[in-house]
C-alpha cells in the first residue's frame, strides 16, 4: 500500500482525474492548496500599492494504491499534469501500513 500525493495546477485537475480513471484508479481525495516554489508568485496592486503574493493556487491529490500500480499512477499523473512550464508540481510516494474501508471494515487491497 502506498500513498501517492500529487500537487498539480488547478486547471489540470479534470485531465488528471480522467487519466487516473482510465488507469483504473477507483478513488482519490482532492484538496485546494496554495503552493510556494520556483514558479514564484506575482505582484499584485491594490489601491495603488504593490504587494507580493508568494503563493499560487494548486490542487493536491491523495491516492492510496496497491504497490503494484504505483508506477502506472505516477506516470498517468505526470503525463496528464505536465505543461512543461514551471510550476507543474510534484508527486511523492510514501508507505501506508494499513487501509480500512469504513463502510465494510474491509482492509488492505480490498479496501482500495
Amino acid at each position: 500500500m502506498k500513498l501517492i500525493t500529487a500537487i498539480v495546477k488547478p486547471f489540470k485537475l479534470d485531465d488528471v482525474k480522467d487519466a487516473l480513471k482510465s488507469a483504473g484508479v477507483a478513488g482519490m481525495t482532492v484538496t485546494e492548496v496554495k503552493g510556494f516554489g520556483r514558479q514564484g508568485g506575482h505582484t499584485e496592486t491594490y489601491r495603488g500599492s504593490e504587494y507580493a503574493i508568494d503563493f499560487v493556487p494548486k490542487m493536491k491529490l491523495e491516492l492510496v494504491v496497491d504497490d503494484s500500480v504505483v508506477d502506472t499512477v505516477v506516470e498517468a499523473v505526470k503525463s496528464a499534469a505536465a505543461t512543461g512550464k514551471i510550476g507543474d508540481g510534484k508527486i511523492w510516494v510514501a508507505d501506508v501500513t494499513r487501509l480500512v474501508r469504513i463502510r465494510t471494515g474491509e482492509e488492505g487491497t480490498n479496501a482500495v
Binding site: 491594490y46 489601491r47 504593490e50
Partner: protein, 423 residues
C-alpha cells in the same frame, strides 16, 4: 372656490413628497457605506462593520431626534444662536423649525439621513480594530452634538450663512462629508494602524479587502442614493433638480475615470477599488456646488477629486494614518476640495446665497468664504473629535486587544463570525 392657497398647498405637497423620497434614497446610502467598508476590509471583521453601520443609524436617529435637530435648527439665529441652536427637542411643539413648505417631520427625516451619513463615514476609517462600545458612544455624540453644531453654522442659519458672502455648501461636501472625514482622520490616528499594516521597516503593507463585489455594489448604491442627497438638497420640487442630477452624474463619472486612468498609468493596471473611490470622490466633490456649477464645472471637479483621492490615499499611507477604506481621502480631502472649488466654478449668482466664482467673473469673494467655511469646520471638528476620542480612550478604551484584532472582531466583539460554513 379655487384659491392661490390651493395651488400653493399642491406645490407644498409636491415638495414634501419629493423630500421624503429623497430622504429614503439617502437612508439607502447607509447600505452603500456598509457594503463599501465591508468589501474593503477583511472577512473576519465583516459582521462588526455591518453592525457598526446598522447601529450608528439607529443610535444617530434617536440622538438627532432628541437633541441634534434642536441644536442644528432650533431657536434664534442671533447671538449664541449663531453657533448653537436649542429649540425643538424631540420635535415636540408647534414652533419647531422647518424649511420652506416642508413639514417638520419631512424635513427632519431628510436631515436625520444626513446626520447618519456624517456619522457612518468614520466607521470605515476606524475599521478592524475599534471597540464596538467606543464606536457606539462616538456615534451618539457626533449625531447629537458635533454634526448638529456644524450644520447650525450654515444650513441652520448660523454665522457662516451670515457672512457677507455666505459660505455655500449646497448639499454638504463640507458639512457632512468633510465633517465625517476629519472625525475619521482623528479616530484613525488616535487608534493607530492595524497590526501588520506597517512592516518592521516602517513601510506600509497591503491588507487587501475581502470582497470587491461588496465594495463596488456599495458604490452603486451610494451613487443611487446620492441623487437624493444632492437633488433633494434643493428642498423643494421644481425643475432645478434636473441640472443638479446631471452635475452629480458627470462628476461621478469623471471621478471614476480619473482615478482609473491614474492608477492605470501609475501601476500598469486600472485598479477596481480605487476606481470605486474615484466615483465617490467625484460625488463628494460636486456635492457643495451641485446647484451652482455647470456641466463643465462638474466634470472638472470630478476629475480633480478623482486624481486627488489617489494621491491622498498614498499620503495617509505614508503618514501612517491607517484608513482601510480611504474615508479620510474621499470624504475629508475631496469634501474640502469640492467646497473650495465652488469659489472658482460657481456659475450662478443668488442674492444672499451665493456669488459667481473666480473663473466666472465673480471675483474672489465666494472663494474666501469657502475657505473660511472649510477651515473653521475642519478646526472645530478636529478639536471636538480629538476631545471625544481622547475621553473614550481614557475611559472605555478605543482599541481592542491584540488577540481580538488578530482573530477578528466578529468573534470577539459579537460572539460570532460573519461567515460560517457549518453544515
Amino acid at each position: 372656490m379655487l384659491s392661490e392657497a390651493t395651488v400653493q398647498s399642491l406645490q407644498a405637497t409636491l415638495d414634501n413628497l419629493w423630500i421624503l423620497i429623497a430622504a429614503v434614497l439617502v437612508i439607502f446610502m447607509q447600505a452603500g457605506f456598509a457594503l463599501v467598508e465591508a468589501g474593503l476590509t477583511r472577512g473576519k471583521n465583516v459582521a462588526n462593520i455591518f453592525m457598526k453601520n446598522l447601529v450608528d443609524f439607529c443610535v444617530g436617529a434617536l440622538a438627532f431626534f432628541i437633541v441634534g435637530y434642536a441644536i442644528a435648527f432650533g431657536g434664534s439665529m442671533t447671538g449664541l444662536g449663531r453657533y448653537f441652536g436649542g429649540d425643538g427637542w424631540f420635535l415636540a411643539g408647534d414652533g419647531v423649525f422647518s424649511y420652506g413648505t416642508l413639514d417638520k417631520f419631512v424635513f427632519f427625516t431628510y436631515q436625520v439621513a444626513f446626520a447618519a451619513t456624517a456619522a457612518t463615514i468614520v466607521s470605515g476609517a476606524m475599521a478592524e480594530r475599534t471597540k464596538f462600545k467606543a464606536y457606539v458612544l462616538y456615534s451618539a455624540v457626533i449625531s447629537a452634538l458635533i454634526y448638529p453644531v456644524v450644520v447650525r453654522w450654515q444650513w441652520g442659519g448660523g454665522w457662516l450663512f451670515q457672512l457677507d458672502t455666505p459660505f455655500h455648501d449646497f448639499a454638504g461636501s463640507t458639512l457632512v462629508h468633510m465633517t465625517g472625514g476629519v472625525a475619521a482622520a482623528v479616530g484613525a490616528s488616535k487608534l493607530g494602524p492595524r497590526l501588520g499594516r506597517y512592516g518592521a521597516d516602517g513601510r506600509p503593507r497591503v491588507i487587501p479587502g475581502h470582497s470587491i463585489p461588496l465594495a463596488i455594489l456599495g458604490c452603486f448604491v451610494l451613487l443611487v442614493g446620492w441623487y437624493g442627497f444632492n437633488a433633494g438638497s434643493w428642498l423643494a420640487a421644481d425643475k432645478v433638480i434636473g441640472e443638479i442630477a446631471v452635475n452629480t452624474t458627470l462628476a461621478a463619472g469623471a471621478g471614476a475615470i480619473a482615478a482609473m486612468t491614474l492608477t492605470w498609468v501609475r501601476s500598469g493596471k486600472p485598479d477596481v477599488a480605487m476606481t470605486g473611490n474615484g466615483l465617490l470622490a467625484g460625488l463628494v466633490g460636486v456635492t457643495a456646488g451641485a446647484w451652482v456649477v455647470n456641466g463643465l464645472g462638474a466634470i472638472v471637479i470630478g476629475l480633480g477629486a478623482g486624481i486627488i483621492v489617489v494621491f491622498a490615499v498614498s499620503f495617509f499611507d505614508k503618514v501612517k494614518i491607517d484608513d482601510p477604506v480611504g474615508a479620510v481621502s474621499v470624504h475629508g480631502v475631496c469634501g474640502a476640495f469640492g467646497t473650495v472649488m465652488v469659489g472658482l466654478f460657481s456659475a450662478k449668482e443668488a442674492d444672499g446665497v451665493v456669488k459667481k466664482g473666480l473663473f466666472y467673473g465673480g471675483g474672489p469673494d465666494q472663494l474666501v468664504s469657502q475657505i473660511i467655511g472649510v477651515v473653521s469646520v475642519a478646526v472645530f471638528v478636529f478639536v471636538t473629535a480629538w476631545i471625544l476620542f481622547s475621553i473614550l480612550k481614557a475611559t472605555v478604551g478605543l482599541r481592542v486587544g491584540e488577540q481580538e484584532e488578530i482573530e477578528g472582531l466578529d468573534v470577539h466583539e459579537h460572539g460570532f463570525g460573519g461567515y460560517s460554513n457549518a453544515n
